[in-house]
Symmetry: C3
Amino acid sequence: MEERKKTNIILFSGDYDKAMAAFIIANGAAAYDHDVTIFATFWGLNAFRKDEKMNVEKGKMEKMFGKMMPRGAENMGLSNMNFAGMGPKMIKKVMKKHQAMPLSDLIEMAQEQEVNMVACTMTMDLLGLQKEELIDGLEYGGVAAYLAEAEDGQVNLFI
Amino acid sequence: MEERKKTNIILFSGDYDKAMAAFIIANGAAAYDHDVTIFATFWGLNAFRKDEKMNVEKGKMEKMFGKMMPRGAENMGLSNMNFAGMGPKMIKKVMKKHQAMPLSDLIEMAQEQEVNMVACTMTMDLLGLQKEELIDGLEYGGVAAYLAEAEDGQVNLFI
Amino acid sequence: MEERKKTNIILFSGDYDKAMAAFIIANGAAAYDHDVTIFATFWGLNAFRKDEKMNVEKGKMEKMFGKMMPRGAENMGLSNMNFAGMGPKMIKKVMKKHQAMPLSDLIEMAQEQEVNMVACTMTMDLLGLQKEELIDGLEYGGVAAYLAEAEDGQVNLFI
């Protein structure tokens, strides 16, 4: 029996468009029967935040980061032509017209296709993000977990 | 006979310097006898726009995107030190002095070296870009076309 | 005897957080017995600048670039939430609190773990950076040096 191929994506970016690219590739690879993992680190973790405010104990600094960073996929900005928030609205309007899936649906689809989603614990620690603030169904790990997958991967990307 | 190696680059970025990096690697890999593919998606597609305005029918939103996005390689900005357009001029001046190829020449060289250039049809649809507005010699495809190449690739990069 | 695996990272970005990610992955891969190479190109070269001003002869343009670009790892900005320099200070404060290594320590650790660090000579030429301005222990090369490593790499990333 042939071994399944592996796609491993590090999602570092907190931009809506880059996260879309990551999840479109992840969903495509899953449809092609790859084992797919998305490791969200640094600003990429924002895609996994819940959109409501959770009641968790935090330090002052961590509270500030929590406030300044977008809460969840649909609140992220664009890497380009963001225009103080106008850009994302325009893109989403155009996406709706062309029946393209919004990021939150792409993430849901990835979960249905059993894409592994790993939240970087080092970043969670640094930015003061707690498990209660992130969506369900995530795994938790660090650079070792990433490398264990990536060294056997066919498609390894940093986004 | 040994199989040829494969380099596959996703060009997501619409920055002049990042696109330069993509095409320098692509041309290098082609010179090393790799089969090379550049998949331009999202803002990366701007590198493949013609620099003149084409007469094509468009919706209002698509017209706006078309106007706001740079028309072709030499009109793109920098990822860093762009200084409202001053940066690209400075870089190009310095490039000329050191006889480095401008991006438009790097793209032409890639075409001469038979680098496959694929324009992402999903992005074209979203941003309202039509074939007539893009340079000649492109192929057209989506995430499936990318994965078919990338899963056998030695060098897979997301730029 | 099994061959050692290879991790090759192109560090294009001049952002503190992205360079941190690059060196965390590099150090992790070295700990996993990979042969690891970091190719610093374009703005990524700033991570390898010495933090003091060196006395070297330069053209006018090259002097200007030298002045505008950050001198060394600890003077780089963030890719996100930079807030005119406030962001890096906040991140470093939070990193200290959580005993995370600053970028300059991550680079030193990489050198101790024998990560190959290659400075892109084409960029040095363009931006007018000279060997005297960069930290010790670097190698120097171009796209050919990169591809020679990358075509046998298991983990190839563009950051």
